[in-house]
Amino acid sequence: MSDSFLTTIIKDNQAQGRLTKVPFIPAAFPTAADFWAHLLELADNGADIIEIGVPFSDPVADGPVVAGASQKALEQGGGLDFILAGLTRHRARLRCGLVLMGYVNPFIQYAWEAAAAETAGAAAQATMARSLELLAGQLAEAGVHGLIAPDLPLEENAPWLKALGGQGLALIPLVGPNTSLEKMRTYAQSGAKGYVYVVSVMGTTGVRAGLPPEVSDTLKRARQAFDLPLALGFGLSSPAQLEAISPADRPEAAVFGSALIRHLEAGGSARDFMAPWNA
């Protein structure tokens, strides 16, 4: 099976000795008007892959910074409609990888009505599966490469892998400090693509002063289980944090969300934020 575009980006960087930088920004944050300008500026200043957050009313895996930003994004109308319409306008200017990160419900509801009309009288799961297929078609058309759903564990991901795989999109798994090697292997065999999102802490999103010591063990297990690049996230604010990890275990990519959100909220620019990561 050919590599996902996301995997290729990371491998190319790795060949040149570069860390892949993956900023996360909620759609329509800080405002619907400014969002696309920030996104383009991130892409022009070293962002290799951008994770666009699809805001949800009940973000159970997020700490206060991302949850607050999602709330603002919702008030600004930052749903899938906003993202897909904007990508149609801006996609040609974006060379980076694009991933949508959001909770299960907005994804399954996006085409629910259309799916329900097609599958009239069918049970909820059949409607959900069809709805995901319709969504995947739209995402592929808009130039999205993959999707991350923090409330979608292996136990529930089969219809998602099928729908996204059918359009060549990656479903990126999240694993963490309490994910066993065996469970990681099952994720790998189930058809994970793109990269592996390694959650650094037993907690929610948000900046921490340092990485916990067990992060090296998590990375080691993930390295053993997956034949995919690893992206470390939850708690990162500066490249220096990665230096605490021994070079053999260091991830190929770093995801930063809360630190970027705080920087933009304080009136900073995407370009200034990216500068230390590009040094």
Binding site: F56, S57, D58, P59, V60, A61, G63, P64, A67, Q71, L74, G79, L80, D81, Y103, V104, N105, P106, F107, I108, Q109, Y110, W112, E113, A116, A123, A124, Q125, T127, M128, P150, D151, L152, P153, L154, E155, E156, P173, L174, V175, G176, P177, N178, T179, K183, V199, V201, M202, G203, T204
Partner: protein, 392 residues
Amino acid sequence: MKGYFGQFGGQFVPELLIPPLTELEEAMGRFLGQAEFEVELDELLRDFAGRVTPVTFCPKLSAELGLSLWLKREDLLHTGAHKVNNTLGQALLARKMGKTRLIAETGAGQHGVATAAAAARLGLRAKIFMGAVDVIRQSANVDRMRLLGAEVVPVADGTQTLKDAINETLRYWISHQGDTLYCFGTAAGPHPFPSLVAHFQSVISREARAQMLEKTGRLPDCVAACVGGGSNAIGMFRNFINDREVEIVGVEAAGTGQPGCYNSAPLNLGRPGVLHGQLSMLLQDRAGQVLPSHSISAGLDYPGVGPEHAHLQAIGRVRYELANDAETLAACRRLSRAEGIIPALESSHALAWVLRSAEALSGRTVLVCLSGRGDKDLDIIKDALAKQGEEL
């Protein structure tokens, strides 16, 4: 599929929560039904919580309505509602699992109080998450929890009500799963909570079925209960599901009943969606954002519902009806005056449906789950009556 009731249920949670859910599932397999566990739980339910609760015949209302009305009296339980059936079970399970702390969400505060009491009794610490709006609305229950030794954490996110309290409790559990069990309050949430809570609540219908057979010589024609998350209802329904001749009715909160009003009736007015780890019926907008809910009874004020109810509705075994705020209030007052029992506003929804349906139920035996007592609702009842220009 694992953890599903037909099409509904599942485990839509972060991977980091799968290990503690699996640990809980394994503990259920190990302890539930085990002789020592059951003896200890029976003792707690009997000597601490006050089981067996009676079924009470309502002579006056029965005569007025032309039917035979019976109440299963969960209102007589310690802490004032059925919630303690579940919290004692989960607290005992937590202790067997070697956990030292219970965490729980609460909306009106009833589950929080029941959790705090069970934790105190079993020597566990308790931390209760409660929406900041609810902390103000239900200050008496906040005081009760604190008096029982629990820590109450106000949650200022989102709508600052029950659903946000559940989000925060799940977040806390991610980072404290080693020593902590989430004592989920209703028969909803990710697998195995819907099964676990239904298991502990099914004592309601296990008793009620035998009591009705003993007192009336036959099964009731109809069994009714209010449905928010659905824990008293699933407890009331479980042991009647296989009695095909028994009609089963769940009653959801319609809010004011005006077209388009906020309500707590996802089975009637929602569509399938995922919230709090489960695929079930859900109040949501077109884009899948969860809508705020409303009911005059804080305990039903929730935009989702347990997956087993969605399943029972889908297969047509249980009928789900609606009762609005005004008819609920009237039902509460009518039972209080006719029978000397002040029902919780939650349970009053089920009574309101019986009152409205008296003609269709004529001559039949109807058993209603009186899930809690109404003392906690006095301020709400007075305010609502005052708005209608009435007094108690």
